[in-house]
Symmetry: C2
Subunit: 558 residues, 2 copies
């Protein structure tokens, strides 16, 4: 994984001239960004953790698994949001941990947490490092504004240091219960490895978020991930039937049955807890038979409104495809629904970013919908869903748009790197709401972005629906805007405006990215002061010293 961008640096691609022209003419991007710093030139503070504490950590995890080298620290600095990447490209290592510690078992993780609690060492659990919401940058006491003396007092004299607790050694499939269709994994298993391990049993999780190639199962659970095939396989939190959480106060082991009436579902308190309550050390996941067939195809709808009504009909009447993704007019036009076509100069004839349309008929007008079917004997499901889509005004485009989407389904983050280097800021954000409120949410987000980033050079704002429920759906936005002199501050202003707009319009602040630090205040507004107080009470019970991912998730007291 690139330390200042996405994925395998060998896969980075140059933008074709057509896209450069689009950036220049449509968005007013004038100059490429300053080239990224080299890894060795990232500025890090000296290791704050005193030697005896490093030794104590090493006594638990082994000396080889307590790492303070420059590269280890840089590679565990921040996540993969656009501001994260902009800061890394600028050589800003201020959020680096003092050390990276890799426990080899639940017991070691638990013992490390007890030590860190006792010695006031902040702990940032680290899986694939793909957070896009500031979930991996511990708040250091110095950051706390002076207006919050009570909070500062509660934090005592601050932390002795910060460690990244890298779960990469906990990478095993522990068991498969084929009768119950449950597999038990350690948290550090990356998604492609999980699929590889399950494939040997003829099984799959079916969880394919855009971060698929690098993210870990523990991260999916901690941040309530949702994959591109969520309509068929469910969200990741739907798959979790049991889990183990190591906390400074002890261990939680939850999930004796798929569902229960034994009180509140405490699994649902751990899911989405983003490392602020503890470290997930085991996950029991519902698995499915690996699909015998796959069939992806495209449909065109005359408008986002018409397409939304069609996906709503599928969600409410059924049957649902496994993949369902509807791009709005702008996203369809720009062709980001098929991001791979951008790397190839728009020359594949499949509706390139030049807006010229292509042989599949999807380009240029209306809205593109991708419907994908997976499983055994998918014919009947395909036929029934196709009948609904046709009835709702869809025009079938055949398999080519589906194939194009499949080829590019994990490549958008690479495109972002190229655009960042070219002088454009690209970022994504998402919300969700009930069907009747989606138009209001859609307008509110667009207006906030246009207001905060325009008017001289209005940003490009694209949207798609890719996760549907009977009662509502998510809206996923991609924004492209020319970088000004301080692109981090520029995006922060836009983000603040969008967060406020989402809260005001009644949406949830995130559908599958998580809260992190970037959504923390809006999350507090969403759940209210009493909901926030409940979270603080739970955290105080599980993490009395407040060492776990400080600053992340939990809204501070008023």
């Amino acid at each position: 994984m690139s330390w200042s961008g996405w994925g395998d640096p060998a896969q980075a691609r140059e933008l074709p001239e057509s896209v450069r022209g689009l950036l220049r003419d449509l968005l007013g991007v004038r100059a490429p960004a300053t080239p990224a710093a080299g890894l060795e030139s990232v500025r890090l503070a000296p290791v704050a953790l005193p030697e005896p504490l490093l030794k104590a950590l090493a006594e638990i995890a082994g000396a080889a698994n307590v790492r303070t080298g420059h590269e280890d620290r840089v590679r565990h600095t921040r996540g993969k949001s656009t501001p994260d990447l902009l800061l890394m490209r600028a050589g800003d290592g201020s959020a680096a941990p003092d050390a990276v510690v890799l426990p080899g078992s639940h017991e070691e993780a638990a013992e490390l947490l007890r030590l860190c609690s006792r010695e006031r060492i902040a702990v940032v659990p680290f899986g694939g490092g793909t957070s896009v919401v500031g979930g991996l940058a511990a708040e250091r006491p110095a950051e706390r504004p002076a207006e919050r003396p009570a909070e500062r007092a509660a934090a005592g004299s601050g932390f002795a240091g910060v460690i990244a607790l890298d779960l990469g050694r906990l990478d095993r499939l522990r068991s498969v219960d084929a009768e119950s269709m449950v597999a038990e994994f350690e948290p550090g298993v990356r998604a492609p490895d999980a699929e590889r391990l399950l494939a040997g049993h003829g099984l799959t999780l079916g969880h394919f978020p855009q971060s698929y190639e690098y993210a870990t199962l523990g991260g999916f659970a901690a941040a309530r991930s949702s994959g591109q095939a969520s309509a068929g396989y469910g969200r990741f939190d739907d798959m979790v039937v049991g889990l183990t959480l190591a906390t400074p106060s002890g261990t939680l082991d939850l999930g004796r049955a798929p569902k229960s009436a034994a009180g509140p579902d405490l699994r649902q308190l751990v899911l989405g807890s983003e490392g602020a309550f503890g470290v997930i050390t085991s996950l029991r996941l519902r698995v499915r038979r690996a699909p015998a067939e796959r069939r992806y195809e495209g449909w065109r709808f005359p408008s986002f409104t018409a397409g939304s009504a069609a996906v709503r009909a599928l969600a409410q009447e059924g049957p649902l495809p496994a993949v369902l993704r509807l791009s709005d007019e702008t996203e369809t036009l720009i062709g980001l629904a098929k991001p791979d076509s951008i790397g190839s100069g728009g020359s594949d004839g499949a509706g390139g970013p030049d807006g010229s349309g292509g042989s599949d008929g999807a380009g240029g007008s209306g809205c593109l919908l991708i419907a994908g079917y997976e499983g055994a004997a998918i014919g009947a499901r395909h036929a029934a869903a196709s009948a609904v889509l046709a009835r709702m005004g869809g025009e079938p485009l055949g398999p080519e748009p589906g194939r194009a989407w499949e080829r590019g389904r994990f490549s958008a983050p690479y495109l972002r790197d190229s655009l960042l280097a070219a002088g454009a800021t690209v970022e994504t954000l998402e919300t969700a709401g009930f069907w009747s409120n989606l138009p209001r949410l859609y307008d509110a987000v667009r207006l906030a972005l246009l207001g905060a980033l325009g008017p001289a050079h209005p940003p490009l704002v694209m949207c798609h629906i890719s996760h549907v429920y009977e009662t509502g759906a998510s809206l996923y936005f991609t924004v492209v805007t020319p970088q000004d002199a301080d692109p981090v501050a520029q995006w922060q202003r836009a983000k603040t405006a969008v967060n406020a707009a989402i809260v005001e319009a009644g949406g949830t602040i995130t559908h599958h990215h998580g809260v992190g630090r970037d959504h923390r205040d809006a999350y507090g507004a969403e759940i209210g002061p009493l909901g926030s107080a409940v979270l603080r009470a739970v955290k105080a019970e599980l993490d009395p010293a407040g060492i776990l991912n400080p600053g992340v998730l939990i809204p501070p007291p008023p």
Copy 2:
């Protein structure tokens, strides 16, 4: 609702002689129970609440809605578990509230909670009064064993009194969002009224637990109810997309989207909280189109094992019927799968309790499965599910067993009253687990019951599977045993043994009845000391004075 039994006293039925014979010959029931006390002779303590507090309550809810009359108090004493009924039949009103208070709005409920918190008045939220787990009997300080002095100290000088907070005035359908398929209800709406209100919009909840005729929506949410058609419509907690909770510390208003990655799902902390965290004052529920067709039918399987494999195949491969219920050999034989046939002397030719079998071919041997289909165009679903059932060894029995089950689906509690009067104790209990663990759970529960209630007159233990998931299912047991001189203590011994067996065998202590007081200790064992501490921390935040349903749900500190 009968104050000492179930439902409408006019519907009570005499047991036919064939059943009396069965009780006598198979179970050794020798004598009818002592006749039930009259309502007026139930022994109540004087109202403990002092006059100024009653006045303060009346200032909030109105004088007509603060009731201290004998009948009001008796009718809010306990729930509908068999021990509850035995105690009520014996005239034991020791668990009666001092007053019944009926708030008329969220605001009144919130204000009542603030008053009660300040004045240390215990509050038992009361919906339909159908708890079967001791969820409606507040623990009074005097009950606390002397071995727990710390707990007693924490409770201070005890409560000024206990009120039942009857939610019967909060009985409105507040809104229907037909686009989002969401209906907002007040909590005191009884299930049949909810269906009637929704039918005007062509909608349904599809939630039909055995308590359907009397239970309320708020109670379903507070206790995580699951209905007979859960395979098709989901559990009640699946239907809740938003809710409002009044607590002594303020109001929680949750649910801005069907699903979210905004932190832990706090809705799931309220669902199952059984009135210990607050009072649910509003529910936003996912609704469905009222089904155009219904089709229920029977299948016979050679054994419970074979039938279990068949329902597992449906749960894992699909498609699922809306209703799916598999009786074990004993339940099939006794015919409790069609409880209405008992009231009619077994003369309807549909496999009566005399074990003689009937014209539908379901009696006597093997295991009966009921499969019910509901919706629009159910033909394809019926055909596909029937193919799976046939492949797994099922023999179709046609519609008659389905019709018989449908006729009797809500009448088992009436049968219990008749059996109680005849001198037999009847009680139900349930658990759930993962498929691979179900045989162990099944054996553990049966062994515990036979051990605790036998060996002189072994009880009749029947079981069915009626809620299935991809990864597991629930087991629902019905026990019939002759009453000894102290049937409450007799059942308590059996219950203690079964609870321990379920915990030991790795099941959850309840699948849809809830925790109440009867499962509280086992629940503590299930979630462990840290899970219990988390619940206490949440309760301390929301209910700092500990007035809400004291003794229910929350495991006490060690």
